[in-house]
Structure formats: structure tokens, C-alpha cells
Symmetry: C2
């Protein structure tokens, strides 16, 4: 087991009704004026906006608002948020939405106390020394941003989509009410399920692999999504299904599923480029990346892929030819993604083969990427991977 540091201090209020306590909870923490960040009209249509603002009023709080966060959120809006936060003299960020909304709030949180361009933190020019706390009310089980230290943002200048980790990105507290996700369309539910699985798999399918406890926890997350994602899609207001997915989403990306071994996150690199160039939903982009990456990679790590196939997908172990078991697990994953209505090839989202070189070049714009014990990947390797996704 490798040395590791684990620090996931976000307080989680999980279950029905906590969102109506948001005003009191913010007040209890000594805040007086949140900047409320949200997306389009969905929280207004669902009544969540009214619940939250009523709770803020009841607690005697005022607030400012930054609506308009889109999937694959943009740096420009976050910069508006930084200016607004300062002008309105807010003291906390209140993100009401999914990963894009929470990530936008996190970018604002790092940007407000920083004199330079907040992009500095994403392009590697500077390290954050402090941050304004973010609080989240989650509306989709997917990104895990409600407990993670990660924030992903797209800079419109060159459509660069990048993630940044920082302890200041961990929300102070998050409210997770599964009932708030009951109105999600099937496609978004499926995208979320894939994202949860991929946050886990990027930490699990690593070399050297085994850390028994961590692995079994990762498998627990995967088995839970395997079981409950189809239920949530078939019965959108099945509370238990929504709850299992929501808790799986938080645990998949709060670092628990990777304690003690390396992480890969190579599929996220591919996915981010697809999202940046084609505005593909994050989960969908990962559903395309994974089968290709896995088929390219499994021979480097047959025992690990075989374990995945047996423990998560119930494949029969082929002791004489474990590579067959490994492949069966990859196929089972692809079939599962497909059954959820996810695209699993570039052609499904109308990305022609002729674009593969461009994508491979974008991924490796800053040189080869080292994924620890897997092969270092340059343009050539990514081209080969992407060809498996055509």
C-alpha cells in the first residue's frame, strides 16, 4: 500500500428535507450573505429555488444571485461571479445544482481572494493559498463535486477544459436530498451513473493495483451503480435508487476509492477534449472513452481487469486464459453503458474518424502524458486509443 493523505472534511446532510434548513445552517456557521450560483430554470420549475430562498429569508439572510451555469461550465461566467461576489460583499458561495454549478462556485471561491487571473490556478501558474467556502445543495448524482477537492472549468480561449485540485475546493457542507433528483431525464441520470463509475475506475484499474480494502470499497460503489442506475432510469422517483446513486457519487470522488494506490484519470483527459470540442455531456464522453482505453490497456494489467470482470460483473473466471475474462468485463461495461442509453463510440456523437488526429493532438498539446505504470501516452498512443472508439 502506498503512503497517502486522506482528508475529506465536508459535512454531508443526507436525506429528505435538509434543503429547507439551508438558511439556518448558513447562519449557524456565521454567514450573512451567500452568492447563490445556479444553472437554468430547472430549480425554478422544480420549486427548489423557492424553498431555498424562503429558507434564507426565514433565517434573516440576504443574498446575491449568479444564474446561467451551463454543462461544461465556462470561465467567463465564473469571472462574472468573482466580480459580483466582491461587489455584493458576499461571504459564502451557495451552489444549487450539479457538478457544473458547484465547480463554478469553487472557481469563484478561489478567485475572490486572489489578485491575479483565477485561470492561473488551472494552467499551473499559481497555487491557491486560501479560498471562500462553498456550500452545495446537490441536484444530480454524478460529478461528486459536492465532496471532492476537484473543480473543472472550460476557458473559452481555445476551449481548454481543465481540472484543478485544492483543499479549498472541498465544500464546507453539502445537502444531498435524493428526492431532488427524481425529475432528472433518463439521459442525465445515465450520464451521472457513468461519471460515478469512471471516478471509481480511474482509481481502481491501476498498476500496481491491489489494496484490498480500497479495492473492495471501489467494487462496492461499482456494484451499487450497476444495481441501481437501471432502477432509477426505469422508475425515476424511486427514492432508494436515487439515494444509492447519490451516496455512490459522493464516495466515488471524495478520494476514498483510491486510498493507497495510484490513479489514472486518462479517460477524463479524453472525455474533457470531447466535451470541449463537441460540448458532449461529461458522462457520455467517458462512456465513449472507456471501452476504447480499456481495450488498449488491459493486456498491461490482465489480473486487475479480470478481478474487475469477476467481482463487478459476475463474469466466470477463465483460469487458463484470464485475458478472456478481462475482455468479458470490458464488454460487460460497454453493454451496460449502452443499456443506459449512452453513446459508446465517437460515431454515435457524430465525431468522424478524420477528427481523431486533432483530438489526439489536443490531448497531448503539452507533451506526452504519463499515467504512472501504464504506458506514457503521446499523440501516437492516443490516436490508437481513439481509433478503437471510432
Amino acid at each position: 500500500m502506498n503512503n497517502f493523505v486522506y482528508h475529506s472534511p465536508t459535512k454531508v446532510y443526507f436525506g429528505q428535507g435538509y434543503e429547507s434548513q439551508i438558511g439556518a445552517l448558513l447562519k449557524e456557521h456565521g454567514f450573512r450573505k451567500p452568492l447563490m450560483v445556479y444553472g437554468g430554470g430547472s430549480i425554478k420549475r422544480s420549486g427548489l429555488y423557492d424553498t431555498v430562498t424562503a429558507s434564507l429569508k426565514d433565517a434573516g439572510l440576504t443574498w446575491a444571485e449568479l444564474p446561467g451555469v451551463q454543462p461544461n461550465p465556462l470561465l467567463g461566467l465564473a469571472k462574472q461571479g468573482i466580480a459580483l461576489f466582491r461587489a455584493e460583499q458576499c461571504d459564502v458561495l451557495l451552489a444549487v445544482g450539479g457538478g457544473s454549478t458547484i465547480d463554478t462556485a469553487k472557481v469563484i471561491g478561489l478567485g475572490v481572494p486572489y489578485d491575479g487571473d483565477v485561470w492561473d490556478f488551472w494552467c499551473g501558474k499559481a497555487d491557491p493559498k486560501t479560498g471562500i467556502p462553498t456550500v452545495a445543495i446537490l441536484t444530480i448524482a454524478a460529478a461528486g463535486s459536492e465532496t471532492s477537492e476537484s473543480a473543472v472549468i472550460t476557458n473559452e480561449d481555445g476551449m481548454q477544459k481543465k481540472g484543478r485540485n485544492s483543499i479549498f475546493n472541498r465544500p464546507l457542507f453539502s445537502i444531498l436530498n435524493p428526492a431532488l433528483t427524481a425529475t432528472l431525464p433518463a439521459y442525465q441520470t445515465a450520464c451521472g451513473a457513468v461519471d460515478i463509475m469512471m471516478h471509481t475506475l480511474e482509481r481502481y484499474l491501476t498498476l500496481p493495483g491491489e489494496v484490498e480494502l480500497t479495492d473492495r470499497i471501489a467494487e462496492s460503489v461499482l456494484l451499487t451503480v450497476r444495481h441501481w442506475a437501471p432502477v432509477a432510469i426505469a422508475e425515476p422517483d424511486n427514492y432508494e435508487a436515487r439515494a444509492q446513486l447519490m451516496w455512490a457519487g459522493s464516495l466515488s470522488h471524495n478520494d476514498l476509492t483510491g486510498c493507497g494506490h495510484a490513479s489514472v484519470f486518462i479517460n477524463h483527459k479524453i472525455g474533457h477534449e470531447l466535451s470541449a470540442t463537441h460540448d458532449t455531456a461529461h458522462g457520455a464522453s467517458l462512456a465513449i472513452a472507456f471501452p476504447a482505453w480499456a481495450k488498449y490497456s488491459y493486456l498491461y494489467n490482465v489480473p486487475r481487469f479480470a478481478q474487475y470482470a469477476v467481482r463487478v460483473w459476475g463474469c466466470e473466471m477463465d483460469y487458463q486464459h484470464p485475458e478472456n475474462t478481462a475482455l468479458a468485463g470490458i464488454q460487460a461495461t460497454e453493454d451496460f453503458f449502452r443499456s443506459l442509453g449512452m453513446p459508446v463510440r465517437l460515431s454515435y456523437i457524430d465525431v468522424p474518424e478524420s477528427e481523431i488526429d486533432l483530438l489526439a493532438n489536443r490531448i497531448t498539446a503539452n507533451g506526452k502524458l504519463s499515467f504512472k505504470s501504464y504506458v506514457d501516452c503521446g499523440t501516437k498512443e492516443f490516436t490508437e486509443i481513439l481509433k478503437l472508439a471510432k
Copy 2:
């Protein structure tokens, strides 16, 4: 899934060598003078005392010391610690040891800022409003106190052993170096393994049970202990075995294994009385309590006990007679405890049958205990349970 609040903010430094950074880490957090709490001579014999004090000196820190913590730690020593902390104007507690040492530090942490008798918090007279932070360097995988909100102490007045939960009990950070546990005797390693399993089982064998993700995580902890405890006993300096047990210990009691359903902790009530009256090691007392409690209880919850038997012990499911599977899982647990060298009956620790009434009366001194969906247990019920342990 029931509503729950999950908050486990302790930062964990896991792996080799972190203990030599303790001075720098304390300084980084702005502390200037820890009260170092520890047990007998073992940390002096192992060299850990020297490593820690050298690190404190290197960081330019001074410190005070409270040695002498015993297993089943006593309130009197903690009260000395409170006085010492105040007199020496310390600003943080540094526990170097196992659960007893960390719990003693936690009691001091709640007591220092409190004007009344610190026992008030344990006997239910008062709720802590604040606390001095505790930092831990762990030397045994067992109690989970290094991340938990629990602190157990024994009041010499009537030998009352009681636990108290509080967010102020969560250590600020904990250093977990599995190599520090390599010198533990087999008996202590085994006691620790049982304690880890029981922290998990008290949250897992509950009614209503199923929360798939939580359950699978609990099973992950149990399977990990099942695999690695015998290895750690056979090969005391097997780092991987020590590491798996240590991380299992922290996750077993930081609340993760119980999210979304009730907890029982009835075996702990029995165990605490055995420890208070016979100074039985905590893990050993639980190894005696569990088989008896489980045999008394399984018929209230056959599906859950059967799931435990199949998933954790690999028992064959008897679909026609699931109660047989449930019993096989209990037997497998008892056999496992026995194989680790644990006592599994009262007679093994020389508690005669004639003492059962006294024990049952002590457990229920404040009236019947309600264990949610299991039967409420009064003197009659505890007598029946204890008879199964004779």
C-alpha cells in the same frame, strides 16, 4: 435509506515515516505546546518516544507529558491531565498510542474548557460546547478512535465504563504508520481485529438492514480483516497486513460503515461491563459477547444474518432454510475469533455462571436498553444472552 449526517473531518496521514514530521505538522497548524499523552513504556522501548520528541524539538516546540494510560483508561488520570494541561498552558493534545490513549486525550480535550466535572458529559448531565483539539499518532489498529467521535472512559467510582460521542472528539489529524504496529503481541493484534469487526457489525446487523452501498462497504471491512488478521498474527512485521488492518480500523468507526441505517452497539454494552468488572481487554470482551448475542438475535433478522454468512464467510446459501445459513455465519465468526486466540465464552476468562445476574443488572442499571428494531433488553433478556456465553 434513513436520513443521516456524515462528518468525518480528521485528516489522515497514512504510511511510513509521518511520525517524524509531527513537530512540523503541529507548528503548521499554529500550535506551540502539546500535552503528550501516552501509556507505559512501549513507545520508549520502540523508539517512537524519541522520534516524536526529536521532531517536536526540531520544530522548536516545547511540551508537557502525561504518561501512564492503561487499557480500559481511568477518569482519574484524565482529570490529572486536565489540571496539567491548564497548569502548563498547553494548546493541543498529542496522543501517542492506541484507543485508550487517544480516548484519554479526548476526555482531557473536553474537560479543559469546561468549568464543571468532565464526567458530566459521560453521565448525560451536560453537552460539550467546545473542545481542545486532539492529534493522534496511532500504535494499534483497533478502536478507530483516531478518526471517530467516540471516547470511552471508566469512572473508578463504581467502575462505570461509558462512551460519549461529540464532534469535538474527532481528532484534527492522525498519523497512521502501520510499521509502528509490527511489535504488537499476537493477543493485542487479535483484540484489535475483533474490535474492528465489531464496530462494523454493530452497524451492519441491524433492522431494517439494507443500504446496499453502506452494507457492501461494511462487508469490505469485514472481508479485509478476515483476510489480513491471521497474516498479521503469523507474520507480525508484514507491512501490508498491518496496513490493511490499520485502515480498516479507521474506516470501521468513522461512521462510514453505518450511513443510512440504525446501529445497535449492544455487544459493546456487554463488553464494557466485562471490562469494567474484570479488566478484560476490549476486543476479548466483544469476542465473548458477539456469539451469544448473535445466537439470541438471529431469528429476528434471518435474511440479514444469512447475507452476512454468505458474503463475508462464503457460506453456502440454504434457500429452503436460511436460518441454517445465518447460524453457519455466526459459527464461522466464533471459529474465526477462536483461531485468533480470542476467548469466546465467559468461562475462558474465569467469569462464573453465578456472576451472570450481576452483569445483567449492571448493564441495565439505568433501565431497559432499546436497540431499535431488535427487542428492548432488560435484565431478563441480558441474562438469557449471557447464559449463551457461559
